[in-house]
Point group: C2
Amino acid sequence: MYSSKDLKKIIKKIFLKHGLKKNDALISAELIVYAEIIGASTHGVSRLKMYCDRIKKKLINPKPNIKIKHISQSISHIDADNCIGFVSANLGIKQAISNAKKSGIGMVGVKKSGHYGLSSYYIEQAVKKDYIAICFTNAPPAIAPYGSKKSLFGTNPIAFGVPVKSRIPFIFDSSMSKINRGKIRIAEKLGKSLPYGVALDKYGELTTNPKDALSGVQLPIGDHRGSGLAWMVDILCGVFTGSSHGGKVKDPFEDFSGPQNIGHLFIVFKKNLFDKGFDKQIKLNIQRVKKLPRKDPRKKIRYPGEKKYYNFKNNLKKKIKLPKKVYNELQILINT
Amino acid sequence: MYSSKDLKKIIKKIFLKHGLKKNDALISAELIVYAEIIGASTHGVSRLKMYCDRIKKKLINPKPNIKIKHISQSISHIDADNCIGFVSANLGIKQAISNAKKSGIGMVGVKKSGHYGLSSYYIEQAVKKDYIAICFTNAPPAIAPYGSKKSLFGTNPIAFGVPVKSRIPFIFDSSMSKINRGKIRIAEKLGKSLPYGVALDKYGELTTNPKDALSGVQLPIGDHRGSGLAWMVDILCGVFTGSSHGGKVKDPFEDFSGPQNIGHLFIVFKKNLFDKGFDKQIKLNIQRVKKLPRKDPRKKIRYPGEKKYYNFKNNLKKKIKLPKKVYNELQILINT
């Protein structure tokens, strides 16, 4: 049990011990604790050992020489030099915001990056500055392309955010698989079963066993539709930015044969480019949805980001409980 | 039975009779026949009577005064003045390509538009000129937001295309619902049932009856995931461009109380902004997917756009067969 403040300090210290620069250790700790606070423990401390292992094996570069190339006022390209993904993604969204500020729209591609945690963290930065933002990242094989029984696309999330003139930003962030890979890993760590119908084993049969699912296939949302969306993300983040793609992004937990070489793409633009009434209309939009008849009368209709916001607010002052296995991993990292 | 050439002439003539300008009648006929040729009859002649009805009732403006406002080198805004959607979308993609040519990236928002047929037609124009393109359009209520039992979002397609140095362009085009609304309409017209699990009736029960589905709810892909993607498209196309949104886009077949006021968003960019090896890498990407072990060994793995391409090639010289009901509607339009 740790306060979020203490946990952040501990993680920062661990990253510093592994050679990360001060600001890089800070942002990395920030992202990991953010995931724990909003209840996305799949992207929290359970990944810390993996990041440290990859640094030790020189697959994450703790002292990267990150280069930003400005293609135009709107467009920039970042070579992340195999840094820890948090750092390059944080730089990417900041650059995209800065480009959008100058020219109305900013697009930033990042290559040679790694797993960057939760897309919502980066989207939120743009939304809080009153911009609309879309971001994509590719990921190691998890989803089988439609028609195949072998995984190749990552869960390849699409994230989107928009300022809504409320304390609670509208932030949608979803993988293209029926279940997140992180959730399967957590289930595996805790010895729990998966829901039925979300994954296949390596023989192509439905499975609820997380271990079998990890060596098998995660099912995409909407069959060919989700498969196509995941392919789009792979092309935009892999082929387009100059990163790995087509099943070549390395699994950070299992493949230590080289850096991950993940790509990200950030697109940010001003909310009122076309219509000065944006603030009024987005409020109306959300009101209309919220007033609809509910499937379960006891459950309010929420917009994407609300659950995250309330989790953050409720949990910020609470102690963070780590599962036994994750806690033990953390102790080893603290003491070695 | 018509040849595609004859059918195009007939439809052009019908649109001219309804007051459309020559070029507008031509592009509209082109889009409708394109849908028939590639086998997407849901967007073909079965919609012609609807377009004509809306022109007669002055809900589609046959002589629009379309205005293009240039916000920056990259960004333009089109006020479509309630023209037939084909015309403004065709203008939108052309402007986005032209902006991308100048500045690397083009973004065009279209407001006061209508149903524009198949997104793939517009995406293909950009792809054939060697650009990457993304397009979105919102649509009349079809999908219930997650947690609600009433439809509000449209099927809100996301379309994406990328040049692949092959005769066959990579074009993904998918609604965010498990089944397209057009397919339900065709099933209704032909007295057929829907597959199980794709739609609810107005009481929230699963139904295979197309009539009940049309007055009920189409289910989104991946529950909250598809619902969130449809919401994103509604915000980008409705709120952001200054069009109708939040359930206010009018159903073209049923609601004659005013123009549809649909919005579209086109984002187009140069393929080699970040990496000069794009052509080589995209080829490799597709090769890797195609080489995967197949679910059904007899069925090749295809990329989005292949099926469309082969349909087009195979059907172009064939006669187009129209269902009896659609054929009869066409005869009335020819003879009145």
